[in-house]
């Protein structure tokens, strides 16, 4: 009886492990298929989908001395793993130094941060309290457009 139980548990574990492996492999494979500059453009296109009301929202943290530094800390903790330490873009997500982002209104960036671009791989970040999201927006807007973005990474940007 007991050996039968052990056998069934082992078979179950093997099945589940196989399932996880297939899932992870599929994720990696589909991620590769989705790579390319076209997807990066789609990613930036999310900024154009922001409703006018949200686009017009002012940044309540703008001009606050500590906001850029605090936003930089939050960016390093939550965003840099995909967008790069200097927001220059990586294989996983595009550069935030590009004109599309730098010319976007703070409200538009806040909206994209809050809602994510879920179908193209960016998770929602509404779990960060609203003031923290505005701090990140302040930091992103403090980066200058045209700073050395990573063109190689941009073209390979893997949006899952």
């Amino acid at each position: 009886m007991k050996s039968g139980l052990t056998r069934r548990i082992s078979a179950g574990i093997a099945l589940a492990s196989f399932g996880i492996l297939v899932t992870v492999s599929a994720s990696i494979a589909f991620g590769r298929q989705a790579a390319g500059p076209a997807k990066a453009k789609q990613f930036h296109a999310a900024l154009l989908e922001v409703p006018a009301k949200d686009r017009a929202r002012p940044n309540p943290m703008e001009g606050e001395a500590d906001s850029v530094a605090a936003g930089g800390k939050l960016f390093e903790q939550h965003c840099a793993e995909c967008h790069g330490k200097k927001a220059e873009g990586t294989r996983r997500a595009p550069s935030l130094l590009r004109q599309e982002v730098q010319q976007a209104t703070p409200g538009a960036i806040f909206w994209v941060l809050t809602n994510g671009v879920v179908r193209r791989g960016m998770p929602v970040w509404s779990k960060l309290p609203e003031p923290e999201r505005w701090q990140i927006v302040t930091f992103v807007k403090s980066l200058k457009a045209g700073q050395s973005s990573n063109p190689g990474a941009e073209s390979n940007s893997e949006i899952r």
């Binding site: 009886m1 007991k2 139980l5 069934r8 548990i9 179950g12 574990i13 589940a16 492990s17 399932g19 996880i20 899932t23 992870v24 599929a26 994720s27 990696i28 991620g31 590769r32 500590d66 530094a69 605090a70 936003g71 800390k73 939050l74 390093e76 903790q77 939550h78 793993e81 995909c82 294989r91 996983r92 809050t114 809602n115 994510g116 671009v117 879920v118 179908r119 193209r120 791989g121 960016m122 998770p123 929602v124 509404s126 779990k127 960060l128 309290p129 609203e130 003031p131 923290e132 701090q135 899952r160």
Partner: protein, 307 residues
């Protein structure tokens, strides 16, 4: 001889892959890029946030429970949570328990998947939760309470309870909302033992939580208020299709807390209290977790993928 060699090669190959995976996990845990996860403090309740795509979160939880009419126990589980997509998280659990003066046993595994059907944030955000469980009657992690689960179920000696293996499917609708720094979550659930004669069982979990500070401070710090999230959760059973309602059900109320360290580790602590005589009097839970950023990519590279 050739056949033996062939089998040996296959085994050696599998072992090599297994060792690589273990090495990757160890390296990931110790040397993964520093990513501070903003983890919720809930232990039973789920909010609508999924794992970031490509990241693996490794978690360990303990539950100490008092037992009326039996020996107290320490149940524990390990979780491996992987973000497949921004809208899909998959998770594997391994459960075990020690009942004092009896034995320590492995009680089974669970495979959970969470899907986010809506692309954007809404007034209430739904996530669909589907889990397959293969656990014995001796499982005591109390990760959810359903049907007519009561504390006395856990008084059965390990040697007897561990003989019965259950195959179950569990469905939850995770509803959650973020407002002014607060998270509110409601999780109705339905479970079906795959035996044809078994009824559907129902349960619920509710939670509310908030960080101690809503703004980040400028400096990197372990003890900044924004790193701490406090809240409360409540969960219990709602009967089954044969006998719905609150009679012969158990319910718990538990303050919850999480400490998200800048180093990427998260610690959770939650004392839980039974709300009626069918519940365990006291459940003390704690957990530790670490997020490994870019695990999917690391895995791809390690197993010969493109750079």
């Amino acid at each position: 001889m050739d056949a033996r060699r062939f089998v040996f090669d296959i085994v050696a190959n599998r072992l090599q892959y297994g060792l690589r995976l273990l090495l990757l996990l160890a390296l990931g845990l110790l040397g993964a890029p520093r990513v501070r996860a903003q983890e919720s403090p809930y232990i039973v309740t789920y909010d609508h946030y999924l794992e970031e795509p490509g990241n693996l979160e490794v978690e360990y939880y303990s539950t100490f429970g008092t037992q009326r009419g039996g020996n107290d126990f320490h149940a524990f589980w390990a979780e491996f949570e992987y973000g497949v997509k921004a809208w899909w998280t998959t998770e594997l659990y391994f459960d075990g328990q020690s009942t004092f003066n009896q034995s320590t046993i492995f009680t089974g595994f669970r495979w959970e998947n969470r899907f986010r059907p809506l692309a954007r944030e809404h007034f209430i955000n739904p996530v669909i939760y589907v889990e397959y469980e293969q656990i014995t009657e001796a499982d005591k992690i109390v990760k959810e309470v359903e049907g007519h689960d009561v504390a006395s179920d856990h008084a059965v000696p390990n040697a007897d309870a561990n003989r019965t293996l259950n195959h179950e499917l569990e469905f939850k609708l995770l509803l959650s909302r973020q407002v002014k720094g607060w998270n509110f979550a409601v999780n109705p659930l339905a479970t079906k033992n795959l035996l044809p004669s078994a009824p559907w069982e129902f349960g619920y979990a509710l939670g509310a939580s908030r960080p101690l500070a809503l703004r980040a401070s400028v400096k990197q710090c372990n003890f900044c208020r924004e790193n701490f999230i406090l809240g409360v959760e409540m969960y219990g059973g709602l009967g089954d299709t044969r006998s719905p309602g609150l009679h012969e059900t158990s319910h718990y109320l538990a303050p919850v807390s999480a400490w998200n360290l800048p180093s990427g580790w998260t610690l959770r602590l939650s004392p839980g209290f039974g709300l009626n005589d069918n519940s365990h009097g006291f459940l003390l839970r704690w957990g530790v977790s670490r997020e490994i950023s870019g695990f999917g990519e690391m895995l791809g590279r390690m197993f010969g993928g493109r750079r």
